[in-house]
């Protein structure tokens, strides 16, 4: 029991500590108030991935204290300018994009993986993103890579054969409709908030 309490105490002490590794001096110097999230470059075969990812980035950045430009409106404006694909948008000078929206910084994401690998009785779902934040003058403020994986645990149904059956059913369900979105949400949450790559708080988080 004592050992358990000591362990809890140790967890309490260390739980929040994040090792400082990422160089945030450029980020702090630029001190952005607003972030434009542009459609991602997609290096995967899943054509829906950029649209889905776009819906997961506003909340963590806004909750971090930044003004995040409305992603649906921004995408519509970019389409009116003739930009439909992440590739073309990422190739534009950041200065031009920033001035079109009046943004202090732009978040570029490249989707490296958004896939489900099938095996006999289990399916592993993987997402992998490169994140890059660039200031309105073109300076790189921050970058990170994040991978998240999910493999349904083999549920123990007691009897070995039953356990195998349960696992096979779970894998089949994952195969039919792999759930990428929670993985993307988790990747964003960790990369911005809890990993060594965590970014500084924005102005609306600081005033509250």
């Amino acid at each position: 029991m004592k050992a358990f309490i000591a362990l809890l105490a140790a967890l309490l002490v260390t739980g929040c500590a994040t090792p400082v590794k990422t160089d945030l001096s450029a980020f702090r110097a630029a001190n952005p108030r607003s972030i434009l999230v542009v459609p991602a470059v997609n290096k995967t075969l899943n054509v829906d991935a950029p649209n889905y990812l776009l819906t997961t980035l506003t909340v963590p950045l806004a909750e971090k204290g930044f003004y995040v430009f409305p992603v649906h409106t921004a995408r519509t404006v970019l389409e009116q300018e003739g930009f439909y694909e992440g590739d073309a948008i990422h190739q534009q000078p950041p200065q031009a994009l920033a001035s079109l929206f009046g943004a202090d910084a732009i978040l570029y994401v490249t989707i490296n993986r958004w896939d489900a690998q099938y095996a006999l009785i289990t399916t592993t779902v993987t997402v992998n993103f490169d994140y890059r934040l660039v200031s309105k003058d073109g300076t790189e403020l921050w970058k990170a890579n994040k991978q998240m994986q999910y493999a349904p645990q083999n549920q123990n149904a007691g009897h070995p054969l039953a356990t195998l059956l349960v696992a096979a059913v779970t894998a089949a369900m994952t195969r039919a409709d792999p759930n990428y979105l929670p993985l993307a949400v988790m990747a964003n949450e960790q990369v911005f908030n809890t990993d060594a790559t965590a970014i500084p708080a924005g102005p609306y988080r600081l005033v509250n």
């Binding site: 809890l8 776009l54 819906t55 806004a62 204290g65 003004y67 409106t73 519509t76 009046g102």
Partner: protein
């Protein structure tokens, strides 16, 4: 012993690092996801987002960044330019960082009166 103590320690561990949320999003991300996944649900999602924003206004709670503007764009795509401009103005008033973009949207709509945009 001290079940309550252990319990509060566990609570602290869970809650200790979590920052208090700044905004009530009202399922905004999920609605936007549904707009892409099921385009036939867009008009229903517009109503849900409007209901959420109206409720926040009723409680004098600050509406999260981008909600007014994206609501405005959904109205614009449904052909309702008046409500689109109304929401762009609200976004601009709530969030000074949006001024450049919102002024641009409002100006474009004022300069092209008859042209309906549908996506």
């Amino acid at each position: 012993m001290h079940k309550s103590m252990l319990f509060s320690a566990a609570l602290l561990m869970l809650g200790g690092c979590a920052q208090k949320g700044l905004y009530d999003w009202g399922g905004y991300s999920g609605l936007m996801y549904q707009n892409y996944k099921k385009p036939e649900s867009v008009s229903a999602n517009l109503v849900l987002l409007q209901t959420h924003v109206t409720a926040l206004e009723g409680r004098s709670t600050k509406v999260a960044p981008g909600l007014y503007a994206d609501l405005g764009t959904l109205y614009l795509q449904a052909g309702d330019r008046v409500r689109a401009v109304e929401n762009y103005r609200k976004e601009r008033a709530a969030w000074p960082e949006s001024a450049g973009l919102m002024d641009g949207m409002i100006k474009t709509l004022a300069n092209n009166p008859g042209e309906e945009k549908k996506t």
